[in-house]
Structures are given as structure tokens and as C-alpha cells.
Amino acid sequence: MKVSFNELQGIGRKAFIGIGFAEGDAIDAAEMVAWMEAHGLGGVEALKKGLRFLLAEDHNESPTLVYQDEDFSVLDAHNHSILGNASLAVELGYARARGRGLSVTKIRHCHNRILIIGYLSRLARRGMNVTAFWRNAHDPLTELVVGFKAGHPVPEICLYSLENTPDETEKNDGITLIMANHVDLLPSLRSEYELTNLMRQTEEDLEKQRDRALVEGMDVDDELWHNLKSLADRLLVEATDASRSGAGAGTSDND
């Protein structure tokens, strides 16, 4: 079915609260999904994949600070979706960069990582240069680099695969964020390894996608919509005769 941006954001917000998210996290998560979908970055598909895990997570468990100094923070997200309260880990990096000029933040052990792009847009609009980097453990190995210029609401995105990279035993389930107050940090491909550029999306590409989504609406499959609606319905209160008078209106207006 076709839905509008506001509709997807609205149902997402209610569904996330229905799951148990705090209001702020639900608002952020819904915006991340809708923002990604509107920009052609698969927000709905990512949510579809992650919803089963979201339902099983403890939403009161925040990312834990593993290490920090003035410039560098490492947080453990406990294998939770980035849609939960991982935004605070990002905000920690933002606060450090505001204070020190540049910060590096690593969020370990998280999934649904692609959706973080939707939140990073907020930081860029606040005037921060942001680069996010992570690896996917596909075969071949892929790396994704997202770069926002300060003040630009959409990024440039580069996804490429690497052949013949050295053996790596660390699980690829983290994100590294670099933020800088005053310096552009855009992705520029250069490597001594063999690269295959799988995707490169410019700001212009993403803005066109968004304009198209606003005109044509966005596709959401019926099953996901039904699931989100059921979760959102958890916020509704059963009707009684007393509650019907709680709206303050009569039932007939034949006057």
C-alpha cells in the first residue's frame, strides 16, 4: 500500500511506544524509518527485518559506556537495534565534538545500523560535520561510509566491497562515528585494496528521491502495516459507556 511520510512517521511513533519505547525514542525511531524510506534508503525494509528483534529487546537497557576520555567514547549497545535509545550515544559524540572540535564514538554490538543515518541528519542540521563508518560481514566484505556536511540535511553515501582483505576475527556489528565542528569529512574512495563500488549516492540523488516520495507516497507492505497498527493499538483504551461521554459530545446531531 502507498502511505504518506506523515502517516508512516505517525504509525511508527505509536507502534514504538506500544512496544515500550520512551516517547523521545519512539519519535526518533519513527523519524529514522520514515526519513530513510523517503530518501530511498530502505527504512521500511530495515524495520521489517528488525521488528522481530525489537519486540524481544529490553527497552530500558541503555547503551553502556565502556570507555571514555575527552575525545573518544566507546559504548556497548548490548545487541539492540539502533532504533532504541542509541541516539544518546550519538548525542554524546556530538557533545564531545562541540567541546573539543572533533570526537570519535564507537557503538559496539548493535543492529539495524543503516537506520542511524536518519538520526545523523539531525546532527548535521545542527551544524555538525558527521561521518559514519561500518562493515557488513557479507561475502565479500562491504564497507559503508556516510558523510554529512554541516548544515546539509542529506549525506553522501558510499558502499563498496573489498576483495582480499586481511583476516579479521572481530564481529562486524559496530558503528564508528567521527564528528567535527569545522572540517568536512566526506567519503572519498582511496584504497590499496581492490574496491568494487556497489553504490554511491549523492545529496542530489537523495533529494530527488525525497521529492518523488512526497509526490507518489511510499510503499509499505500490508503485513508490516498491519503489524505496526496492532502495536499502535496497544495505546488505545477500551471503550465503555462512561468513556463515550468522556469525549463530551452527544451521539446524534440531527438538529
Partner: protein, 576 residues
């Protein structure tokens, strides 16, 4: 973009604790900055034209009517579906499932395939899937008494009694006017670069205005069908005096609370306009102009009828207050401080509704500068965190800017008497008594005051442990405070935006919230049906489509004359 009012750095704005007091907000009136007024000015200035491209109504007035709107920028169509409605189903509540008319405003052309899709979905309203080219989706029910009287009168060759429109100022009342992506229609973001409808709610207001035109055409059609030989057209004065009703309830409250930045813009624009007007040097002509406006408003409120005892008392108090204002203004010469003296005097002598009426009328006197702010009524809405801020600064901001929220007392049951929720019945917003009704665990978080109080308490304890801690460190300890903190940080930078009331409090009157929003829309004739349900009239007195066309001239004096329709009074007809 700078506006003339920006060049007035010394403007003395009223303090937020006065302006954002809920009882005062609940006393506001439609003003020249209200969306209805603004839209009509735009239509006249830009020579918008509306033509009927299809009029397929049967002898009962049921069928389809399509209108084409041409602006200097685009073409739109309004499509109205009129159907028989079983009286048992006629309800203005959101839980209704059928209506007398359903209609939509859409961008571009109405191809046959789109019309078929609309015919299958628009009458279903929330239960349908709407096309993304629709800008507005709405429905309305008849005022049965007025409708019957109008058709009877016109069919018998007579004009309806104008007093009927003074009692109830419309033939149809809308029960919801949806925009911004609801049920698949176009997002508001799509209109932000469209000069026709980029102001808040302007597309919705146009759809309502178009329904007014339809209602006249439909009653005339029915009268002609009933009595082709004798039927007459509705007198132009009555067409003007005919508005469109709106029936609304608690759904207004979540919007007001969930859009604080938009509310800030609306109130800020109005307050700047007032501050500017207040500082102007009056002369004899402007004093006389204000007196003329006061006389018309006096008659408007004297004529206004409502069954609600409290609103009747308020209307009577307004009439008494206007009498004294007129008397005061008649004997006071146009000294340089006249406006300021008047407002100071009125604050002491007049009811709140009368005080705000005087403010509203004063704004009318200076259109050239004040109307420019109507382009600032919209804004980008995003509540942003400042995670690097010191937690101690946040606490100070709360104490300085949100002191009203700290009046909350969690031990006092009256301070948490109500809870707001959505019912499983079509998500209708309702209000429950916390102590005795089920559902408070699922309440909507609309009571901002108690939330700020809670954040302040947690900050206090956090600062004991971490006196130099930052906001992000506070939030990592209390992640559920994120939304409240970013709201505080965003809104603390603005003069208005937060309604300074505890929406849980036993003494809180939901009607004030409804009236706040409706006044910005441009509603008049407030007719409460309970403490949380109200009927109002929009566009009563507004010029007709046929009067707006530039064939009649677009000089400034004519446009000003067209714009002068606030606080309409009952017309006198010279019937043969």
C-alpha cells in the same frame, strides 16, 4: 525574510505568563491574522477563480459536484460527494462512519480514473485509502433545521429569515478537515514551496470555503427542483452571512501540545502585531475607526445566541464591557498614548474576552504592516537537543522560563485529576478521571507541566552527584527524559509556545484549548455543547467567490473593503 515588524526592535511584547495563560488563550477571538481572513485576502489579491465543471445532483441534492480552482500558480479541483444519510447515523463525532457530504481538494486535474478512486474512498473518509494528490479530505453534516428552512423559503419564492443564520450560521458543519498526509493524502511538506497553500491550514481553509459555495448552490438547486416556477436565488447578503460550521472536541488539544513551535509562531505574530499597533500614534480618524469596529462587534455579540450558560454569560459580559469601552473612547481625545491608555484601562475594567476583543480590533487599524507577518505563521518544527549544555544551566532555564510548571504538586490529587487518552473507538480523544476510570496507564503525555516538574526533580538529584555534569550525561542516567529535555531546551529560546497550565488539573477547562486553536483558524460564534465540545462558524460574512474576481478591480481600497468582514452582523433584507 525580514518584515516591517522586524524593523521595530523596541516592541514591548506582553509577558508569556500573561499571554500563555490558558484562560486568556481561551478568550481569544478571530483576528485579521486568522487563517480564514488571510486566505480570503490572498484569493482577492491574486485573483483566484473558481468554476463549476460538473454539477450532477439529483432532485434530492445527491450526486457529485466538481469545482476547478485556478490560481496564478496552479490548478486544483474540489470534488464533493453528496449522499442520503440515515438520521440515525448523523453524528459529528469522529466515531461516525457516514456523513451528508464528503469532499476533497486535489492538486491538478481530475481524470476519470482518479474520480473513480475518489468515489470509492472519499465517502469512507478514515476507512478509505486516499490518493496522494489529495491535499485535503473532509466531511460535513447538515444543519437540518436551517437546511429545511432555506429550501422551503427559496422554493416558495421567499428569502429565509436572516435570524436563522444568526442562531446557527451555516447549512453544513464540518466534523473533521484532514491535511498533512492523513490516510494517504499529500504531506504538508509537499506544499511548503507552493505559494498558494504554504501557510498553515490554508488548503484546509480553502476546502471549507469551497463547501460554503457548494452549500449555496445545493439549496438553490433543491429549491428550483421543488418549485421551478417560483424558486428564487439566495439573496447576496444572506450568501455572505452564511458561513460553514465546524463541530469539534478534544482532538484540538493534542495538536496544540504537540506543535509548540507552531503555536509559538502564531502567538508571537499576533503579539508583535498588537505591540506594534499599541505604539502607533492615534489620530481622530483611527479613533473613529476603532469606535466603528467596536459598534459592529457590540452588535455581533449582542446578537450571538448559544444555549451554553457559561458562554452566554461571557458574551453578555463582553457586550457590557464594549459599552464601557465605547463610552470611554468617546470621551477620551486622540492623545499620543491613547492606545496604551485604553489597553491599560481595559485590563482593569473589562472581562478577559473583551480585553482580547479590543486587542483584536486594534490590530485591524494597521493592516499595511501587520499583514506582512502572515507569511511567518508557519515554521519548521523540530525539537532539538543541546547535549553539551551544562545540566545546571538546564535547571536554571526551567526555573527561569517554566516556573509555572514547578507549581505542580504530586501529592495533591487535584493536580492529577484528569488523564487524556485515545479510545479504541476510532482513536477518539477522551478525558478520564484518573481516580475512577480505567486507562490511565495508556494516557497521552499531554500534561507538559508535570513532566517538566519531574525533569527538574531528577536534575536536582543528578546535580548533587555531578555538579558539573552535562545534559547528555544526565540523559544517559535518565534516558526517558530525552523528549522533555529537548522540548525545554528548544522552547526556552522562544517567548511563547508553552501553554502555561497543568492539563491534569481538576480546574483545567478543555474548552479553552479548543477555543485557542479555533480562534487562530478564524472561528466565531462559539457555541459550546459541553465543557469539551463546541460548534463554531467559519467564513460568516466573508466575501463570495463572485465578489473576489478582479473584474471588479484590484485597487487597494476595494481589497480593504473586501477584507472588512470580521464580527458580522445580521443583514436587513428588503423583501418585496
Amino acid at each position: 525574510m525580514a518584515t516591517p515588524l522586524d524593523a521595530q526592535p523596541e516592541l514591548q511584547l506582553r509577558p508569556a505568563d500573561q499571554v500563555m495563560n490558558l484562560v486568556r488563550l481561551g478568550s481569544l477571538h478571530a483576528s485579521r491574522l486568522s487563517f480564514c481572513r488571510s486566505l480570503v485576502r490572498q484569493m482577492a489579491r491574486e485573483d483566484w477563480t473558481v468554476t463549476t465543471v460538473r454539477f450532477d445532483l439529483d432532485a434530492d441534492g445527491h450526486g457529485v459536484v466538481i469545482y476547478r480552482l485556478s490560481t496564478p500558480n496552479h490548478t486544483y479541483h474540489g470534488v464533493v460527494f453528496s449522499q442520503h444519510l440515515d438520521p440515525e447515523l448523523r453524528s459529528d463525532r469522529v466515531i461516525a462512519e457516514a456523513w451528508d457530504v464528503t469532499f476533497a481538494l486535489l492538486e491538478g486535474e481530475v481524470e476519470e480514473s482518479l474520480l473513480e478512486q475518489m468515489a470509492a474512498n472519499v465517502p469512507l473518509q478514515e476507512a478509505g485509502r486516499q490518493h496522494p494528490r489529495l491535499l485535503v479530505l473532509s466531511r460535513a453534516n447538515k444543519s437540518l433545521r436551517n437546511f429545511g428552512h432555506f429550501v422551503d423559503a427559496l422554493a416558495s419564492g421567499q428569502q429565509p429569515d436572516p435570524a436563522w443564520l444568526t442562531r446557527v450560521g451555516y447549512l453544513y458543519r464540518t466534523t473533521a478537515v484532514y491535511g498533512n498526509g492523513k490516510f494517504g493524502i499529500a504531506d504538508y511538506a509537499r506544499l511548503q514551496n507552493n505559494p498558494d497553500f504554504n501557510r498553515p491550514f490554508s488548503a484546509q481553509m480553502f476546502a471549507v470555503y469551497l463547501l460554503r459555495h457548494f452549500s449555496v448552490q445545493q439549496v438553490e438547486h433543491l429549491a428550483r427542483n421543488r418549485s421551478p416556477e417560483r424558486a428564487v436565488a439566495l439573496h447576496p447578503s444572506l450568501q455572505r452571512y452564511l458561513g460553514i460550521g465546524n463541530s469539534t472536541g478534544l482532538g484540538m488539544a493534542p495538536f496544540l501540545i504537540n506543535h509548540p513551535q507552531l503555536i509559538q509562531q502564531w502567538v508571537y505574530c499576533r503579539e508583535r502585531a498588537l505591540a506594534y499597533a499599541r505604539e502607533q500614534r492615534p489620530n481622530e480618524a483611527s479613533r473613529r475607526e476603532l469606535l466603528a469596529l467596536l459598534h459592529r462587534a457590540h452588535r455581533h455579540f449582542w446578537e450571538t445566541v448559544t444555549e451554553d450558560a457559561e458562554q452566554t454569560r461571557r458574551n453578555e459580559a463582553t457586550v457590557v464591557s464594549i459599552d464601557s469601552v465605547i463610552e470611554w473612547l468617546e470621551r477620551t481625545p486622540a492623545t499620543p498614548n491613547l492606545w496604551n491608555d485604553l489597553l491599560v484601562w481595559a485590563d482593569k475594567q473589562c472581562s478577559l474576552e473583551a480585553q482580547e476583543l479590543i486587542n483584536t480590533l486594534l490590530i485591524e487599524l494597521y493592516p499595511d504592516l501587520i499583514d506582512a507577518v502572515e507569511d511567518e505563521l508557519g515554521c519548521e518544527e523540530i525539537l532539538e537537543l543541546q547535549p553539551e549544555m551544562r545540566a545546571a544551566t538546564l535547571k536554571q532555564d526551567i526555573e527561569a522560563r517554566f516556573a509555572w510548571a514547578l507549581d505542580y504538586d504530586p501529592k495533591n490529587p487535584d493536580h492529577q485529576y484528569w488523564f487524556w487518552y485515545r479510545s479504541v473507538e476510532k482513536e477518539e480523544p477522551r478525558l478520564g478521571v484518573r481516580a475512577c476510570e480505567p486507562g490511565s496507564a495508556k494516557e497521552m503525555p499531554l500534561a507538559i507541566g508535570p513532566r517538566i516538574y519531574r525533569t527538574h526533580q531528577l536534575l536536582d538529584a543528578f546535580l548533587d552527584r555531578s555538579p558539573r555534569g552535562s545534559v547528555v550525561e544526565f540523559l544517559m542516567a535518565h534516558p526517558r527524559q530525552k523528549e522533555c529535555v529537548r522540548r525545554i531546551q528548544t522552547m526556552a529560546a522562544t517567548p511563547y509556545g508553552e501553554i502555561q497550565a497543568n492539563l491534569w488539573h481538576r480546574d483545567m477547562k478543555p474548552m479553552h484549548l479548543l477555543r485557542t486553536k479555533l480562534s487562530f483558524f478564524g472561528a466565531s460564534r462559539f457555541d459550546p455543547k459541553s465543557d469539551r465540545w463546541v460548534r463554531v462558524t467559519l467564513f460568516q460574512g466573508a466575501p463570495l467567490f463572485c465578489e473576489l474576481f478582479s473584474d471588479h478591480g484590484t485597487d487597494k481600497a476595494r481589497l480593504a473593503e473586501l477584507d472588512d468582514w470580521s464580527f458580522p452582523v445580521e443583514p436587513e433584507l428588503n423583501q418585496p
